[in-house]
């Protein structure tokens, strides 16, 4: 009887186009949108690009030390720090207003730096940090100039030692962080898969509703069949997980191979995480489906909004949300299945398989067990009066 129910539930689920849409098509559509929306965002806003600057010389003034320092940063660094346009002040000012350069170095008796007001750009923090880098370079030059002037005044022989000390070098060494993908936009894809996993809850809800005589005709039919409810629910639950997992594997493969999203880990571990997410999703849906005599539409609404809310808290719409929650209410992150799923992907990406990854999987299976047990408690030994 178990296998009979198992096979028939698979057939039923595969015919439910609306349920399949959420796990099969929705992640593909949203993933494609994410891909186009986030495709170049880090390259535009975060990755360092050569900063365009204008240099104006008042009445042909020259400042050798400054010019040499600027040239060194333009020619000896990769990528070059600055892209210098030498022009007159009027043109440079116009270029600054039109955002074609980020600042103007004006060489006269002394060197000055002119920037546009950042408040006018507000959200464009890339511009702000580019101007800050210009300010840093300017500070470097002015501080060195001050130091050299002071020291030579104290001891003229210092001029002999100076050149080597004025070179711009790095006194630090970066630690190797990981072989994984440090592009933080990949977290949107983690959360997208987490959302798709939670959307498997629709299948779980229908399993619950199709086992209750007061909620569906199929439930009434099943209640008078000789098959034990525990066997029927177990078979449907198993087939629900299998079907949803297979369906969800398609968008995962699409993200990895068609869109080329770098998850930093191979498919088998991705699938294992998705499987744990599916189990939790179906169990959550089963739990909601078992709640009293609530209309199907309302249950679907509860599932959609609670899934989206969990994913919002996990960072689907606002990348840093998970850390905000961690600061103010860390317990929410512990019990939020979307966070557990996305954290599993993050762990695999950055650290590989470790205790934290297995901890996440354990938390997901534990949540699934709690939802399943609570659901079963609600529908067990239910009898219906003959009316």
């Amino acid at each position: 009887m178990f296998w009979h129910e198992f096979v028939y539930e698979i057939r039923r689920l595969l015919r439910q186009k609306e349920e399949l849409f959420w796990v099969l098509m929705f992640p593909v559509i949203l993933g494609t949108l994410f891909y186009f929306a986030f495709g170049s965002i880090n390259n535009t806003t975060e990755n360092f690009h050569t900063i365009p600057v204008a240099v104006c010389r008042e009445n042909g003034a020259d400042n050798r030390a400054f010019t040499e320092t600027l040239t060194a940063l333009c020619e000896e660094t990769c990528p070059p720090y600055f892209d210098v346009s030498e022009t007159d002040f009027h043109t440079a000012k116009k270029m600054l207003q039109e955002n074609k350069v980020r600042g103007i170095f004006r060489i006269g008796e002394e060197v000055t730096l002119l920037c546009a007001s950042v408040e006018a750009e507000n959200m464009n923090s890339t511009l702000a940090i580019e101007q800050s880098i210009l300010e840093m370079f300017f500070q470097d030059y002015r501080a060195s100039e001050t130091a050299v002037t002071e020291l030579i005044a104290e001891n003229p022989a210092f001029a002999q030692k100076m050149p080597g000390l004025l070179e711009t070098v790095s006194y630090g060494s970066p630690k190797k962080l990981t072989d994984g993908n440090l592009d933080n936009t990949v977290q949107y894809f983690y959360n997208l898969i987490a959302m798709a996993c939670l959307f498997t809850s629709f299948a779980g809800a229908y399993i619950a509703m199709n086992n209750q005589a007061n909620l569906s005709a199929l439930g009434a039919r099943k209640c008078i069949s000789p098959c034990r409810k525990s066997v029927s629910v177990a078979a449907q639950f198993g087939s629900g997980i299998l079907t949803q997992f297979v369906c969800l594997a398609v968008p995962v493969v699409y993200l990895v191979y068609v869109l080329g999203i770098k998850f930093g880990v191979g498919l088998p571990l991705l699938f294992l995480t998705v499987f744990a997410g599916c189990v939790t999703g179906v169990a959550f849906g089963f739990f909601v489906g078992c709640i009293g005599k609530v209309a199907e539409g309302t249950k679907v609404g509860i599932l959609v909004s609670s899934s989206l809310f969990c994913c919002f808290l996990s960072g689907l719409m606002f990348g840093n949300m998970r850390n905000v929650v961690e600061k103010f209410c860390p317990f929410l992150n512990v019990i939020n299945p979307a966070v557990r799923i996305s954290d599993s992907f993050l762990t695999l990406n950055i650290y590989g398989v470790n205790g934290r990854y297995f901890g996440n999987l354990f938390a997901l299976f534990l949540m699934a067990a709690v939802f399943l047990a609570a659901g079963c408690m609600m529908i067990r030994r239910k009898t219906y009066a003959s009316i």
Binding site: L114, N122, A128, A143, P174, T298, F318, V324
Partner: protein
């Protein structure tokens, strides 16, 4: 006004779910609007990044360096925990980690060049900026040390020299006063299309679908009520519903942001937000023509709202979207809504121009008209079937 009354009787059925949507969505919109204000309030002269320092040396030299950085950035002193630091770097919760190893002071005094370690996202602006500042500081200290100063003197001279150089950057134009208090409102209106479209699609579509149901449609058409009167009452019901939702969100904005909302720029944002309504109502009408089930409504709602919001710059600023994405999103009404919001707030970097604002309003009106025309054609086609 039988149909008009029936419209709201039907609306009552989906009231609980709409209240739930309202609470969740308005919470999200408010949160996003408030949190974004915190993250984007940097000014160029003092871009303060989040820097973590692990000071294993605990010497005067390391304290002076961290003190200098603390004057510029948001500095947090942490213990070395690779996993926790890496997590925070990945989420950009911190931008840079400076590790001052034991013996930092001796190495600095001894003229060595390998002085510190870092944890940083390679090749990004924040890493270049903070590392550059540290190197600038150390370079000046080394100059003073080479000039015969003691370490303490070298560090104090360096700080003086750097502080003297700081703030000498001249600014071309100053921003007008009064706009900073409006930032929260701009962000609120930035995220409003997502909330309003979601609520209209999940609210009106099921009601209109009920009226398209074959049995009910036939029952109404054989009554004494004419088709145009029925459609007029449905339209009136939809208008009242849409304006009700819009008014609710204006009320929330008034409660949270006070009278600032009624300044000129606030009123421009409000006027712009009205233009969400006709487009959203037309989309709801188109969907309802296909007699969708409740889950189908949820599907369409999510795909359309999330899709449009991601592509048009509701969740991500338009300036950060790729040019190809913008080329596509120009064919969506929210693109023009966000353009107007950027124009009023100055987020887009272009000064406000009344002509451009009304032009964008006009484009939104044309989109609404086009969508309504499409909705009427689809409805006629479906009825013909």
């Amino acid at each position: 006004m039988q149909v008009f009354k029936a419209f709201f009787k039907t609306a009552r059925r989906s009231l609980p779910i709409n209240i739930m949507y309202f609470i969740i969505f308005s919470g999200i919109a408010l949160f996003l609007s408030r949190s974004s204000v915190d993250t984007d309030s940097q000014a160029f002269a003092s871009v303060a990044l989040d820097v973590a320092v692990i000071d294993a040396d605990r010497s005067d030299a390391s304290a002076a360096l961290t003190g200098y950085l603390a004057g510029i950035h948001n500095l947090t002193k942490l213990e070395y925990d690779r996993e926790a630091l890496l997590d925070r770097l990945f989420y950009r919760d911190i931008d840079f980690v400076l590790i001052l190893p034991k013996g930092f002071e001796e190495k600095l005094s001894g003229g060595e060049t390998d002085l510190y370690e870092t944890m940083q996202i390679p090749g990004v602006y924040s890493s270049v900026f903070v590392e550059g500042q540290i190197n600038t500081y150390l370079k000046a200290v080394r100059l003073y040390l080479a000039g015969g100063k003691s370490l303490a003197d070298a560090q104090s001279h360096t700080e003086k020299a750097l502080n003297a150089a700081a703030g000498q950057v001249r600014v071309l134009a100053q921003q007008e006063d009064g706009a900073s208090g409006m930032k929260g409102i701009y962000y609120y209106y930035q995220f409003l299309p997502y909330v309003i479209l979601s609520m209209i699609l999940s609210g009106i579509t099921p009601i209109l679908t009920t009226f398209w149901e074959e049995g009910l449609a036939k029952r109404i058409s054989c009554s004494s009520l004419g088709l145009s009167a029925k459609n007029l009452q449905l339209a009136l019901g939809s208008i009242v519903y849409c304006f009700g939702i819009w008014a609710l969100f204006q009320l929330i904005a008034r409660i949270f942001y006070g009278n600032v909302l009624f300044r000129e720029t606030g009123l421009l944002c409000m006027a712009n937000s009205i233009m969400i309504l006709p487009a959203a109502a037309a989309i709801a009408l188109i969907i309802s023509c296909f007699h969708p089930s409740s889950s189908m409504v949820s599907m369409c709602n999510n795909v359309i709202t999330l899709g449009m919001c991601f592509l048009c710059g509701v969740f991500i600023p338009q300036q950060q979207l790729g040019s190809n994405v913008c080329a596509v999103s120009k064919f969506l009404p929210f693109y023009w809504y966000i353009r107007n919001n950027d124009l009023v707030s100055g987020f887009g970097g272009t000064p406000f121009a009344g002509g451009a604002y009304w032009e964008n309003i006009g484009v939104q009106a044309l989109f609404a008209a086009a969508l309504f025309a499409l909705a009427l054609s689809v409805s006629k086609y479906r009825r013909g079937k």
